[in-house]
Symmetry: C2
Subunit: 222 residues, 2 copies
Amino acid sequence: MLEIYETKERVTADNDKAAAETRVKLKENKTFFVNLMASPGAGKTTLLKQTIAALKDKYRIGVMEADVDSAVDAAEIEKTGVRVIQLHSGGLCHMDADMTQRGLEKLDIEGLDLVFLENIGNLVCPAEFDVGAQMKAMILSVPEGDDKPLKYPLMFQVSNVVLVNKIDALPVFDFDKERFEKNVKTRNEKAPVIYLSALTGENVGAWTSYLEEAIENWRKNA
Amino acid sequence: MLEIYETKERVTADNDKAAAETRVKLKENKTFFVNLMASPGAGKTTLLKQTIAALKDKYRIGVMEADVDSAVDAAEIEKTGVRVIQLHSGGLCHMDADMTQRGLEKLDIEGLDLVFLENIGNLVCPAEFDVGAQMKAMILSVPEGDDKPLKYPLMFQVSNVVLVNKIDALPVFDFDKERFEKNVKTRNEKAPVIYLSALTGENVGAWTSYLEEAIENWRKNA
């Protein structure tokens, strides 16, 4: 006996105005802004460190580390030498456009070419809030399973690119690439799927090339 | 340069009344209610299936599968033969006491000894909402990393027991049990940590024994 019982629709916050303001400021500054989203432990910080290592000679990079609590990730990113601030969401499961705007002011984007927001570890809430980024990148790690697009539809739907991390662990998990890509397609026909290992560095170049191309295209049109 | 920038405190919903009502009904029915929480892909459904297999001859079991979308998990649980319903949160990242109350009515706890809520895959929001359960059990899977108590403090703080799943994957991940337990202790001095593999069944008995004991103790005092 299987029943479907629908509960109330989420009342989505209107944060479009703040997101639009952020986009204007980014354009004026020629700063490309990436909203990086994933589950807890999917490898956001590790991939960010790899990305910084690959691109820091080409771009002046800034990072906003958002967390419910702690400054563990910011301390890690600080070691790379880029400009970094820690944002605390005060218990919230996402960053909204207003908090992000204040974060960007604190970070000071003046002179930065590329800014990352490492969002709160969560596959639900961050997907609902446009923070004004030019790119929404999500990470799904192999141990989380290939069925996640079915269960967290919005995250896959809104992402411009889907990064599958921890491919070094593929041999020990039942993760079927074909099934995963089929599931992604049901939510998002456009987003490319890039498989990589932030730990070993395998195929991280495919992601950083994708990002570079997006930045250059945006600059041409901005 | 590392700065800490605090954003607004979450306005917590007042759902204590509904949770208290649920507790009264559960007591009248002698139904023990477990709120199972974890990240996406931590192994909630797989562990639930193992738990049902171990306890279904002893207790009459019911399950509420909460998801943002899809009925993948409910279909899996249905195969075990227990009473199951699928709840959709309509985009919300957690179940609150009101939704849970309506779910329990739909499920119909009459004649059930043990009910599980498989909460939305999320380490943030579900921790904030008392749904009226007698036990809050959380799962943290090995690939997520041993630093998670630092980053998701409330979840560890409110849980009665911490289940560490996917120990079969310990050889391929840098997960230090000692460091993890130390991190858990900073948030919660009481909650026992139980290591298991829902996939292979290893040490699942430690969890089901813990649960049985909690149920019997509750019945004695209820």
